[in-house]
């Protein structure tokens, strides 16, 4: 499977994602410079975390006009797997690939910590290696992870089962008491209706190796590989 990691000026988790795909999963991976206007033959695209364009004006607002973005949007619309992590999630929102917007954390402070995530469904290309209801321990690090959308959109997210991860405590309660940033309905990650585009604030690439204190995150990338292999298998049959 071939992954592409898009590098915007100011991306800073690009190398971390690259490392997990290449050295941990041992799959193929390339960097894609934001000034490219075409995507090569990729099976999945990662929009990494960081501070694209310094996060100036609004997170993701400037990056979404990068020359590569029309190709990414096209790739997503054709059903390609796209995962946006942290700043990548913010860019997906600004680009309209996912609904909603990102506000500053309720505390008004950047927060670096480890959060418990509750996996809401496992019938997606990103969570097939996980169980529904399972808890994951995943690092978070963001100043603007306070996900916002209006009531109607939230209703729709719920109706379509688009909420993939919520913040919870160690006992799996995802009530507002265990919400690190104020995001609506404790949302930590959502997918699009079609299920091929994921945006999440937590950083799975930071917990994909034992030496970093946990490996819960690697399951998301492994899920992507599994789902890709299944598609290939189906095509063969």
């Amino acid at each position: 499977m071939r992954f592409g990691v898009v590098v915007f000026p100011g991306s800073n988790c690009d190398a971390d994602c690259y490392h997990v795909i290449k050295d941990v999963l041992q799959e193929e991976v390339d960097y894609i410079w934001h000034k490219e206007s075409q995507l090569g033959a990729y099976d999945a695209i990662i929009l990494p975390g960081g501070f694209s364009y310094g996060d100036y004006l609004r997170t993701g607002a400037i990056a979404r006009f990068s020359p590569i973005m029309p190709a990414v949007i096209d790739f997503a619309n054709r059903g390609g797997l796209v995962i946006g992590i942290c700043n990548g999630f913010q860019i997906l929102l600004e680009a309209g690939l996912l609904p909603g917007a990102m506000l500053r954390n309720q505390s008004l402070k950047f927060i670096c910590d480890t959060a418990y995530l509750k996996v809401k469904r496992n019938d997606t290309p990103f969570t097939n290696q996980l169980a529904a209801g399972q808890l994951m321990k995943v690092p978070i690090a963001h100043g603007e992870g306070n996900y916002y959308c209006d009531e109607a959109t939230l209703e729709e997210l719920r109706r379509n089962n688009q909420i993939l991860f919520t913040y919870s405590n160690a006992a799996g309660e995802d009530s507002p008491d265990f919400n690190p940033n104020g995001s609506i309905a404790n949302i930590a990650g959502i997918i699009n209706k079609e299920g091929n585009v994921l945006g999440m604030m937590p950083h799975p690439e930071r917990c994909s190796e034992e030496v970093l204190g946990g490996t819960d995150g690697v399951n998301i990338f492994v899920s992507m590989v599994k789902s890709f292999q299944e598609v290939i298998q189906r095509c063969k049959n």
Binding site: L57, R58, A61, I62, F65, L93, E94, P99, G100, A101, L103, R104, N105, Q106, S107, L108, N146, Y148, C149, D150, G182
Partner: protein, 83 residues
């Protein structure tokens, strides 16, 4: 040359944690009369253009595309000065 101001404000109903924090601080400083604070952006733009009308249109376009996020923000454009 032409100067314009763009005011970007959070939509009504969108929580403004920063505004709330400032309000609380003002209360601590004993400005009890402060009932609400909302914090938006004040963007000053210098534009090479002679025509107010077309400049206004252009600025509205910029705001729609980049300066404001329609999901959570409103904006208002004002031409202040023409040289």
């Amino acid at each position: 040359m032409l100067k314009a101001n763009v005011y970007v404000t959070l939509k009504e109903g969108v929580l403004d944690p920063q505004g709330d924090a400032v309000k609380k601080s003002l209360h601590v400083l004993e400005y009890q009369g402060v009932k609400e604070v909302r914090i938006g952006k004040f963007i000053e733009v210098c534009l090479e253009s002679k025509d107010k009308e077309s400049a206004l249109r252009e600025l509205e376009e910029m705001s729609d595309k980049l300066l404001a996020n329609p999901v959570m923000e409103d904006y208002r454009v004002e031409i202040v000065e023409v040289e």
